[in-house]
């Protein structure tokens, strides 16, 4: 029986932008087991990146957590002090890699400088009192780079980030993020900006290193195809809420929420030439003007009066498969087939 590494419950978060208040996360609850890969999918503005930043507690100042818990390894991360987060969590047990490798590294410092700084910080927290020399850290940095498959790591380590391609920068990030101590990796659109063949390389690297170190992954992306290949479980978000969650096979194979169904049908993946794609009418509502009830109801052809009134709860509709659709819960899937 696998044990949960991360349990998020009822996480609710607002962005306070002057007079506007945007609910970026609304009662988000899920858990992630040790060694598992959980995929978080959704369109832009659904709150998936906010979720990652909330876990590692790097939210912008305007964000305010209203309620909820983020229990990691038995401790509520929201109750830890900044110093404790730095000392025990960030970069030690939880690491994060970001979307845009172009900007993720500081352009005016050499790769080695940045890596050594981070290794030194980690070392300081792990073995206090044990001072290592810069040369040792440099050696360690080179080994980390070698582990990510960068050719000539001893030379490349003294390059500047602008001399690296996007894929190589992401390798550097992975090298800094993953070590034997890392138990959770947050990957926020880590390969979105890369070419397909490079994306495949990087995703394989992440999977392999994570398997080697027993790291769990929260993989945030809008690309359902990537999740289909990488994730054990999938969570589909819309306007700050979880709409559907479950094993990859069942969520992608037999989705229960109209939104996830529509999302899958609108992909040109396996459709034959000439057949129309399903397109969802309307657009994702801005977070400060969310409709009441189910936030998807203005775009949903099956919406009834009750969908305008009640917020649908996330209910286990099948074994290990949760969905938040009132219509589905009350009348069953047969009644609302899109196609």
């Amino acid at each position: 029986m696998s044990e949960p590494l991360l349990e998020v419950s009822q996480l609710t978060l607002d962005y306070n932008l002057g007079s506007r208040k945007m609910r970026a996360l609304d009662r988000v609850s899920f858990s992630l087991d040790k060694g598992q890969v959980l995929g978080v999918a959704g369109e832009s503005g659904c709150g998936k990146s906010t979720l990652g930043l909330a876990i590692i507690r790097l939210l912008p100042k305007v964000a305010e957590i209203r309620r909820g818990e983020i229990v990691f390894d038995g401790r509520d991360l929201l109750k830890l002090s900044e110093a404790q987060m730095d000392r025990e969590i960030r970069g030690q047990k939880i690491a994060m890699i970001f979307q845009n490798p172009q900007n993720a590294l500081n352009p005016v410092f050499k790769i080695e400088t940045q890596m050594i700084d981070i290794l030194r910080v980690q070392d300081k927290y792990q073995n206090p009192g044990n001072r290592k020399r810069r040369q040792d850290f440099r050696q360690q940095a080179i080994e980390r780079l070698k582990g990510t498959g960068i050719a000539d790591p001893a030379v490349r380590v003294s390059n500047y980030p602008f001399e690296f391609s996007g894929g190589m920068k992401q390798r550097v990030m992975i090298g800094m993020a993953l070590s034997s101590g890392t138990s959770l990796l947050l990957a926020d659109e880590a390969t979105t900006a890369l070419d397909v063949t490079i994306e495949a390389q990087i995703n394989r690297l992440i999977t392999e290193l994570a398997a080697e170190y027993g790291t769990s992954i929260l993989y945030i992306t809008h690309n359902l195809g990537v999740l289909s290949e990488m994730a054990d479980r999938i969570m589909i978000m819309y306007a700050g809420r979880i709409f559907e969650m479950g094993w990859t096979k069942s969520v992608l194979g037999s989705p229960r929420h109209p939104y996830s169904t529509a999302l899958l049908e609108s992909l040109p993946g396996r459709q034959t030439r000439g057949k129309r794609l399903l397109s969802i009418p309307g657009f994702v509502p801005p977070l400060d003007r969310l409709p009441g009830g189910c936030s998807f109801h203005p775009r949903c052809p099956f919406a009834e009066e009750v969908c305008r009134q009640e917020v649908p709860p996330l209910i286990e509709v099948d074994k290990g498969h949760w969905s938040a659709c009132l219509f589905d819960q009350k009348r069953g899937r047969q009644k609302w087939k899109w196609i």
């Binding site: 070419d195 063949t197 809008h222 195809g225 609108s266 040109p268 034959t272 794609l277 994702v284």
Partner: protein, 330 residues
Amino acid sequence: MEVDLIQIKNLKTYFFQGKGLLSKLFGQGLRIVHAVDGMSLTINKGRTFGLVGESGCGKSTLGNTIFRLVEPLEGEILFQGRDVVKMDQKELRKFRQKAQIIFQDQFGCMNPRMTAGQIIAEPLMMRQGKQESQKEIEKEVAELLNAVNLDPDAAVKFPNEFSGGQARRIGVARAIALNPVFIMADEPTSGLDISTAATILNLMQDLQEKMDITYLWVSHNLNQVRYMSDDMAVMYLGKAVEMGLTSEVFDKMAHPYTKALISAVPQVSPGEQKQTIFLKGEIPSPINPPSGCRFRTRCPQVFKRCEQEEPPLTDLGGGHFCACHLHNSH
């Protein structure tokens, strides 16, 4: 019955870097970017030609060269039998009204100081031999907005007041304003959400049907090209490595690069085990492309000959071309 609309023969577009006075003085040497390096292809009327490849392969440059936004070094671009490269300004202007572009950056391609209405009206106002009143043009703009499913009040809005999907629709409306016969769509869904992208794809298919438009579909998204295009070419470092009917290319892929590329595309196929071919290393720079076969530095099936000889594009039968020594030896 297939008619050639565009025929490109041995097209080469190079960019020259380091031409400046001081660069010459310090002898940094001229760096030549081999952006498009000998492409030949035929686009048939009423069909969609998909052009795929990774960044830096020259697919956008090829598109821009067809419109002479970039001047080619050599080669021919025959449009309805006339060579675009040799056209004078007047002819070129005529050609550019029959052929249109939908740009990759949906906001960047619109003048931020013009309203959507003015942007769409611009091509209408330069139609030749026809003086129309402001009223007529306004009516046509309204029709065009309607054709791309936008409200008429969008006409007085500025580009920054639109969402990504709406801005893209304005780009489409402008492109179809003059009833073009040919449209190049350069990554037409980049930066759009999944559901928005689907509506754009549907819209463009409808327009093709109604108006009999030929598309050149430039994209890195293989799923999209497979879905949208009838014919396709796969480019790598300025050259076509494989070309043919889309169905042929996907079903009987011949080139190792095509195989790797297609296998790398993540598919929503829960439960299916897919064999991804991982390529080693990075895409080489188009400034110093490898000798012989350009793909040899990353090819899993490389052998001696690949280094010495550049494989020609050979017909494997049925208009399915491939440039690889593996299919060339016999």
